[in-house]
C-alpha cells in the first residue's frame, strides 16, 4: 500500500484569508502536511481539514491545528490520517504578521 499524492504546491498567505489548498473529491484516507518553518516569531497560522458526512452534504471541519512561529519544534505540521469517503478540503489561514510562503501536500490511500 502506498500513498498517492492528491496535490501539492506553495501557498503565499494573505493575512486573514482562508486559502483553500485542495478540495479533492476522491474517496480515501487523507493526510495533509504544511511546512510552517517560514513563520516569524509569534506569527500564527491555522490549518484546517474538512470532510463531508453525507455524499451530498456540505463540508464539516474535522481537524484544526494552530502553529506559532518561534514555538514550533517540528515545522512539518501534520494532520493525522482521516477517512474522507466523499472527499475533503484543506485550508490555510495566516492570522498575523507578514504573509509567508508555505509548502504543502495532501496524499491519500
Amino acid at each position: 500500500m502506498s500513498w498517492t499524492n492528491g496535490g501539492n504546491g506553495t501557498q503565499t498567505a494573505v493575512i486573514g484569508t482562508e486559502h483553500i489548498l485542495l478540495s479533492p473529491a476522491t474517496n480515501g484516507t487523507y493526510e495533509f502536511a504544511v511546512n510552517v518553518a517560514n513563520l516569524a516569531i509569534m506569527e500564527s497560522v491555522e490549518l484546517r481539514a474538512y470532510r463531508k458526512i453525507l455524499s451530498g452534504g456540505g463540508y464539516v471541519q474535522c481537524w484544526k491545528g494552530t502553529y506559532t512561529g518561534g514555538a514550533v519544534i517540528s515545522p512539518a505540521a501534520q494532520m493525522p490520517p482521516i477517512p474522507m469517503p466523499y472527499g475533503g478540503k484543506f485550508t490555510l489561514l495566516q492570522l498575523n504578521g507578514t504573509g509567508r510562503n508555505f509548502d504543502w501536500e495532501a496524499s491519500y490511500v
Binding site: M42, S44, Y67, T68, G70, A71, I73, L95
Partner: protein
C-alpha cells in the same frame, strides 16, 4: 515511552533551570518600570535553549507586599523580544512572599532566547524573582499548544479582573464578564486567581461560565480557592496565587467568558478575587 527514557543513558540532563541564583536562593531579579502599571525592561533568563523543550514551569517569587504584578515571558533576540506568555498575574500581601508556579505547555526549539518583563501596581523600585524549569522534549511526550492569549488580565491594576461575590456569605454573586468574545478557538484553559493585593480570609468557590449575559452556562463549577492561611482563618492574612491545572476544554472563537464567586467573607476588603485566563489555541 517505548524503550524507556533512553536519552538519560546518553548523558542528557532530564531537567534544567534557567534563572535561579545560587547566591540568593532566588530567581533572577526582574525590575518593573518606575511608572505604576507599566511593563519594565526585558531581563534574559535563557540565552539559548540547549535543546527543544515541550513546555516549561514558570516560577515567580519575592514580591513586595500588597502589590500586584503582571509578568510577560518573551522570546527573541535582545531588543527584539516578542511576548509569548502574556500577563501572568501574581500578588503578595507580605513582603517577600507571592510564590507562584505555573506550567506553560508551549514547545520551543533549541536556540530560543527566553526573557521576562514585569509591571507592578506601584512601580518605583519593585522587583520580583523569576526562573524557569524545563526539560528536553526527547525525554517526555507532554502535549503542547500554540502561544496563549490572555483574557481578563488588567494592566491598569496589575491584577486579574475583579470578581465580587457580593455581601451575602456563601451565595454566588453576579457573573462578571472576563472576555466579551474569545478571539481564537481554545483547546486548553489555564485559570489564574489572585487576591487583588489584599489580605484574604475564608474560603471561596468559583464558577467559570460561557454564554451571553443573562444566559451563562457554567462549564467549570465550584473551583476551590483557598487563601494562604487556610479557609477557616476569618481575620485575614493570606495571599491567593492559584492556578488551576490545565483544563482540556474546547471553547470556540467568539465565546463570551464569565465568572462568579461565593465566599465565607462579606467585607469588601477581603471577599473579592482577581481572575484571568490563558487560552491556548486549538
Amino acid at each position: 515511552m517505548p524503550g524507556g527514557i533512553g536519552s538519560i543513558a546518553t548523558g542528557q540532563t532530564p531537567m534544567a533551570n534557567a534563572g535561579a541564583q545560587l547566591a540568593t536562593s532566588l530567581g533572577t531579579t526582574v525590575a518593573v518600570n518606575a511608572a505604576a502599571n507599566t511593563m519594565g525592561s526585558w531581563v534574559q533568563l535563557v540565552a539559548s535553549l540547549p535543546n527543544d523543550i515541550n513546555g516549561f514551569d514558570l516560577m515567580v517569587e519575592n514580591l513586595p507586599g500588597f502589590h500586584g504584578f503582571l509578568i510577560n515571558i518573551g522570546i527573541g533576540a535582545a531588543a527584539a523580544e516578542v511576548v509569548l506568555i502574556p500577563q501572568v498575574s501574581v500578588c503578595s500581601v507580605v513582603s517577600g512572599s507571592g510564590h507562584y508556579l505555573i506550567h506553560i505547555p508551549v514547545a520551543l526549539p533549541a536556540g530560543t532566547r527566553i526573557s521576562a518583563q514585569a509591571q507592578s501596581s506601584s512601580g518605583g523600585s519593585d522587583t520580583c524573582a523569576v526562573s524557569i524549569l524545563y526539560g528536553d522534549s526527547a525525554l517526555n511526550d507532554l502535549q503542547t499548544f500554540g502561544a496563549p492569549i490572555n483574557y481578563g488580565g488588567d494592566p491598569t491594576n496589575s491584577t486579574g479582573t475583579v470578581v465580587d461575590p457580593g455581601t451575602t456569605a456563601n451565595t454566588k454573586g453576579f457573573f462578571t464578564q472576563i472576555a466579551a468574545a474569545t478571539t481564537v478557538d481554545i483547546a486548553v484553559l489555564q485559570l489564574m486567581v489572585d487576591s487583588l493585593k489584599s489580605l484574604m480570609a475564608g474560603a471561596f468557590l468559583l464558577d467559570i461560565a460561557i454564554g451571553a449575559a443573562g444566559s451563562e452556562q457554567v462549564i467549570l463549577p465550584n473551583i476551590v480557592v483557598v487563601n494562604g492561611t487556610g479557609p477557616f482563618n476569618t481575620t485575614g492574612g493570606g495571599t491567593i496565587n492559584q492556578q488551576l491545572p490545565l483544563k482540556r476544554i474546547n471553547i470556540p472563537a467568539g465565546t463570551r467568558l464569565s465568572a462568579r464567586v461565593q465566599s465565607t467573607q462579606t467585607a469588601a476588603a477581603n471577599r473579592k478575587l482577581g481572575l484571568s485566563f490563558l487560552g491556548y489555541p486549538a
